[in-house]
Symmetry: C2
Subunit: 184 residues, 2 copies
């Protein structure tokens, strides 16, 4: 849906292959946008048909050749229009954990608590990643002058990840505490 804009966005920095784009997404936007390798490849193909990117083959030895994409002027326009258009809706979320919880009345509280405690560990690890690794990566990018404006925006998205994980852990703590009293 918005993956095409993400790809166009990344290609404004420099021409890249599908493989490169996958690595870059995992490193930078995975907090709020992700895609599988296969989806990236098929979306790039579609973008080329729409003339928003063009590709050329870069021969490699001992590896499959790289198909490197770069953004066209049409692509820049399309991306610019998307960016300029204000977002007027809230994205609906999907949270499998909450769905499971919603229908878990038949389960023993202990079974639910096991999942919640496990989830807390996962979210704590994620929180730490945003506070250390991610923060440092953005700091380094922002050090070069031509990336400073971007890095400032990237930091706001990192901060979102941090606040989100803090919120999630708080909710888990509340729910665990609450549920521990349900046996009585």
């Amino acid at each position: 849906m918005s993956l095409k804009y993400a790809l166009l966005g990344f290609l404004t920095y420099q021409p890249q292959s599908g493989y490169d784009l996958k690595q870059l997404m995992d490193l930078s936007t995975s907090n709020f946008w992700h895609a599988k390798q296969s989806q990236i490849y098929t979306t790039l193909k579609k973008l080329e048909i729409e003339e928003q990117v063009i590709s050329h083959i870069e021969p490699q030895e001992n590896r499959p050749n790289r198909r490197v994409y770069e953004i066209t002027e049409t692509g820049e326009t399309v991306l610019g229009e998307w960016l300029a258009q204000p977002l007027m809706v809230i994205e609906p979320r999907k949270e499998t954990l909450l769905l499971k919880l919603f229908f878990s009345a038949r389960l023993k509280p202990e079974a639910i608590l096991t999942t919640l405690r496990l989830q807390k560990n996962l979210h704590q690890a994620d929180l730490e990643k945003y506070q250390t690794t991610t923060k440092e990566v953005i700091r380094q990018f922002g050090a070069s002058a031509d990336m400073a404006a971007d890095a400032r925006l990237w930091e706001t998205t990192r901060r979102y990840g941090e606040l989100y994980e803090e919120m999630y852990i708080r909710w888990l703590d509340e729910t665990i505490k609450d549920m521990e009293g349900w046996g009585e």
Copy 2:
């Protein structure tokens, strides 16, 4: 993906049509799980082929006939297995707003601020809904003894919505305040 379990879950309460299920989802799980009418109908058909639900036609006057689905024993088993299985991963999120923000370095801060302020209004309305309407609906369901256990779990998912919106508004406030200083 998990929609089939949501449908099975709702059908444990009582037999229902695709239309009923859509209404019920919008009212209860839309905070963390949603689906379009068309997806609900096609998923129900698939569930019937897999013999996890069975349907019969209820004739109506002046309206298309209702196709009412009920859960089978197979369906109950499948649902039970899914519920019992602890969730070991964190769901990747997708947030178009953050994606746009990430690539917005070329935009004027004022353009970004317009979107952020607009989003704040939307999230505030959502927050209020969780604190009033949703809370009241769950309270009423929980009043009947046989729904008390369910209502307790539903309340935890409502609370998630509340904390989520509070977090989102906080992040928006922080980001807006930060960005208002960028012009200088």
